[in-house]
């Protein structure tokens, strides 16, 4: 079987020469296309570090990460940045939108880096804003949007490059329950309709309940990997 994401014996060690701290310790992970997976575990269990390694934001101390069969741990920084641009969408806990750009411009920005034509960009921005239910907020800057709306713009931005999968690091941590519900509905719909692969790190039970696969980490190791109906 071919996996969209594979990792073998993946480890990230801090202070290897003094007091080694294993943030991720020998993780073997296989994610198929179209999965809706939650990484759960207590604080410090290695969820964010694992997401960073899978997303190519950090290099592992040992092991490998393959995306569609390509080992991204062997890539230099510039290649990795380009790989991320074309293949991976990110949603961050703190939204991380560019404050001086409008919602539409934040989404368009990614496509500008991909050198898409103006027409292509405008069309895609329109589609994405409609998908996340923010068509009427396209000209608003992040400060003029609620937390939930900002996170929906972040999801739209993550989708802008038509990535292979989206990594979301505690995407609902700053949201109220209504906004969390809205966001999860949007992501579940994208997963169902477009077969978009999502991997979350989360503490949020509502997210865990919605996930179809829940991987539990403790001290950097996978202690359980369960599929949910």
């Amino acid at each position: 079987m071919s996996y969209i994401i594979e990792s073998h014996n993946l480890s990230k060690v801090y202070n290897p020469d003094t007091i080694p701290v294993y943030a991720v310790n020998g993780v073997d992970l296989h994610i198929e296309e179209g999965e809706f997976t939650a990484l759960v575990g207590p604080s410090g269990s290695g969820k964010t570090t694992l997401l960073n390694l899978i997303g190519g934001l950090d290099y592992p101390s040992s092991g490998d990460v393959k995306i569609d069969g390509t080992d991204i741990t062997k890539m230099n920084e510039n290649k990795l940045i380009d790989f991320r641009l074309h293949n991976i969408g990110f949603v961050f806990q703190a939204y991380n939108l560019i404050p001086v750009l409008t919602a539409a411009e934040n989404i368009e920005f990614v496509m500008m880096m991909l050198k898409k034509t103006k027409q292509e960009r405008e069309q895609r921005v329109k589609e994405l804003l409609a998908e996340v239910g923010l068509t009427d907020r396209s000209k608003n800057r992040p400060t003029e949007l609620s937390g939930g709306q900002q996170q929906r713009v972040a999801v739209a931005r993550a989708l802008a490059s038509k990535p292979r999968f989206i990594l979301a690091d505690e995407p609902t941590a700053n949201l109220d329950s209504k906004s969390t519900g809205n966001l999860l509905d949007i992501m579940a719909k994208l997963n169902k309709d477009d077969k978009m692969t999502f991997i979350f790190s989360t503490h949020d039970q509502r997210v865990i309940d919605k996930a179809r696969r829940v991987i539990t980490l403790v001290d950097g190791k996978i202690v359980s990997d369960e599929k949910q109906p």
Binding site: T48, N52, G55, L57, D58, E77, N78, I81, D82, R84, L85, H86, F90, F92, A94, N96, I98, V110, M113, L114, R157, A158, S161
Partner: protein
């Protein structure tokens, strides 16, 4: 706010550089014009033997004819034939060495500004044996307006001769050393005492346009090879040297100002980059390559500079034009300034040729200042930077 700090730094840096240049330019021009108007004039003609020993017998041959010709020259604004000697001036209490200029007041008014710098009395009333002295000399001699003084000097016969003069006026020029060392009497009065009659030691010429000094002097040198024709820079090479030194000094001072500006911009841009660490982390995470991140920081600095430079130029034009009209009162330093021939009031002068080099230097400084913060931005690790607060 941060952007305003960078724009402000560039504007103030440019203003400081330009203002220093304008200030020094004004100071130098005033010093030159002061020296030209009170002592040197644009061109002086002497008997070649006169300047070294100031022998009173070394007058200019056929001076009256020469002056007549020069008066007809369209480039000449005014000229004055002078009898010049050195001697002692004595009051009832003390004596001092001075250079005595015998002048025709109406002619001298055309080449010297002394007549406009009278603090007391008049610039010759037409009476016999009048003398005009500097304020500093009057103070030194303990004399007042209408006081009697005695001039003692050597006549053509080789004998010492003396004449009694009454102070008709007291002047104060921008140069206190000149005021202390120079006195003016009527040409005929001095000529009689010297025994030179109508003999002229010095012809001082003021031109209509000071840019013609070298060409007119060159022409005169050709026409009168037996006479010594000198421009003000030849008469006072130290002043030409000072002008050159000031030119270099200006660029050194501007360099220091720009160096300070550079550290200001580096500091502000570095703060900006560090404050936006999360933003840079996010940009790199979603796919902005390092070259683009680098140029983003540099471009931001360039754009802020592009706003700061016109602001600085406008500020400079406004301030310098205002001060060129009303002057900068430096009277707190008047004693020191006047010793070197500088005026109490300095009128800064902008030259259009200043704008380009200073603007380019400021722009270059701003761009160079952005490089270190830009390199710093490249060193952020997206995984770490994203989580910075």
């Amino acid at each position: 706010m941060r952007s305003m700090v960078v724009i402000g730094s560039v504007a103030v840096g440019l203003f400081a550089g330009m203002f220093m240049m304008a200030f020094f330019m004004g100071l130098i021009k005033q010093e030159i014009s002061s020296a030209v108007e009170t002592q040197l004039s644009h061109i002086q003609i002497h008997n070649p033997a006169f300047p070294d020993d100031k022998e009173i017998k070394d007058t200019i041959a056929n001076a009256t004819i020469l002056m007549g010709k020069l008066r007809k020259d369209s480039t000449v604004k005014g000229l004055s034939g002078r009898a010049v000697t050195t001697g002692m001036i004595s009051s009832s209490s003390t004596a001092a060495g001075v250079e005595i200029h015998g002048i025709i007041p109406d002619d001298e008014k055309n080449v010297s500004s002394i007549s406009q710098q009278m603090k007391q009395g008049v610039y010759f009333s037409g009476k016999k044996n009048e003398i005009v002295v500097g304020e500093k000399l009057a103070q030194k001699l303990g004399v007042k307006l209408h006081s009697k003084i005695v001039l003692t000097f050597q006549a053509t016969t080789g004998d010492l001769t003396a004449g009694s003069f009454r102070i008709a006026g007291i002047f104060r020029s921008r140069n206190s050393a000149f005021d202390e060392m120079t006195v003016f009497t009527n040409f005929n009065d001095l000529g009689q005492l010297l025994g030179t009659g109508a003999g002229v030691h010095e012809i001082a010429i003021i031109l209509r346009d000071d840019r013609n000094v070298n060409s007119v002097a060159g022409e005169l040198k050709k026409q009168y090879p037996t006479l010594l024709v000198q421009t003000w820079t030849e008469l006072s090479p130290e002043m030409a040297l000072v002008t050159g030194i000031f030119d270099q000094l200006m660029y050194i001072i501007i360099g220091i100002i720009l160096l300070a500006l550079m550290f200001g911009i580096i500091n502000t841009m570095l703060m900006a980059v560090l404050e936006r660490q999360r933003e840079f982390g996010m940009l790199m995470a979603i796919g902005m390559n390092k070259l683009k991140v680098f140029f983003m920081v540099v471009l931001e600095s360039i754009m802020l500079t592009c706003v700061g430079i016109p602001a600085g130029i406008l500020l400079t034009i406004g301030v310098v034009n205002y001060l060129a009209k009303y002057g900068i009162d430096m009277s707190a330093f008047s004693t020191a300034l006047m010793q070197y021939g500088f005026s109490n009031m300095v009128y800064p002068e902008l030259q259009t040729s200043m704008f380009l080099p200073v603007t380019l230097m400021t722009a270059l400084t701003a761009i160079l200042s952005a490089i270190y913060p830009a390199i710093k931005a490249l060193q952020f690790k997206p995984a770490v930077a994203i989580h910075k607060i």
